[in-house]
């Protein structure tokens, strides 16, 4: 069970952060929307603070706990660009990502968010299946 303790603690923190942002500022903690809004605002300032906060929080979490930084994906730049483009286009067109739809949206029982979350979980699973088990992890 110990291996599940940190994921659970981390998950609770994601929930708490989302609730505080909603309760204090009335905003949804959706990272794709906030990132795009920070660059294309109105109301850019709070979005920049949130984005910078994510990076700071990550640094502090590793410093405080001594947890090693995870290894980056080993794929080359072409895969990084392709995946990044898909994530960006998909979250913009689909109005949200794992945080906005998966945590906040399902949290307020939005049918759209439940549908979106089931969709990206499904295509994520299918993609990994294809890459690992049909292409033999060739990417």
């Amino acid at each position: 069970m110990e291996q599940f303790a940190m994921p659970l603690v981390g998950g609770l923190m994601l929930g708490v952060a989302s609730i505080i942002l909603l309760a204090a500022m009335g905003r949804i903690a959706g990272v794709s929307g906030i990132t795009w809004g920070a660059l294309s605002g109105p109301d850019r300032a709070w979005r920049w603070l949130f984005v910078v906060g994510i990076v700071l929080g990550t640094v502090i979490a590793h410093q405080v706990t001594g947890l090693d930084n995870p290894l980056p994906h080993e794929g080359g730049w072409l895969l990084a660009v392709s995946a990044g483009l898909l994530v960006g286009v998909g979250t913009r067109v689909g109005s949200g990502c794992t945080s906005g739809h998966g945590v906040c949206g399902i949290g307020r029982l939005s049918g759209r968010s439940i549908a979106a979350t089931l969709t990206f979980m499904a295509t994520g699973v299918i993609t990994v299946f294809v890459v690992r088990h049909m292409l033999g992890g060739a990417l």
Partner: protein
């Protein structure tokens, strides 16, 4: 409007991502690999986060307005359309290819790997490009 809670919540959010394992592409891809050597850890991330938001969101939204702002900014659309599903589908493919969704991608900049900066730059380009699809579809 007071905006300091954005920094505080961003930091809690980033720390949560780092501790949860969401910033580890191998773990995320292992979690999505249900046909292989499945890594169930990240179920607990979603479970923990949803336990909080499912319970607390109704209480928060029962209030007339947020503590430090004039109104709640919530999405108004309720239509499950092609854009929502198509966008979600594309996002899932990218997520499965690299193991980062937007939050962990931003968080991973803290680790300084060049590939993370490339991924985030491409993601931002994608967010911009997606605007054209969104207008058209």
């Amino acid at each position: 409007m007071k905006i300091w809670p954005a920094l505080l919540t961003g930091m809690i959010f980033g720390a949560g991502l780092a501790l949860s394992g969401m910033t580890d592409p191998a773990k995320v891809i292992g979690f999505l690999d249900i046909a292989g050597d499945w890594v169930p850890d990240l179920m607990f991330v979603m479970g923990g986060a949803l336990a909080v938001t499912l319970i607390a969101t109704p209480f928060v939204l029962r209030r007339e307005k947020p503590w430090l702002a004039e109104m709640f900014h919530l999405p108004v659309s309720t239509v499950i359309d092609r854009r929502l599903i198509g966008g979600g589908a594309l996002f899932g493919i990218g997520w499965g290819l690299w193991g980062y969704c937007p939050g962990p991608a931003i968080a991973s900049l803290a680790y300084g790997a060049t590939s993370s900066f490339i991924f985030v730059a491409a993601m931002i380009a994608g967010l911009w490009l997606g605007g054209f699809f969104k207008a058209k579809a």
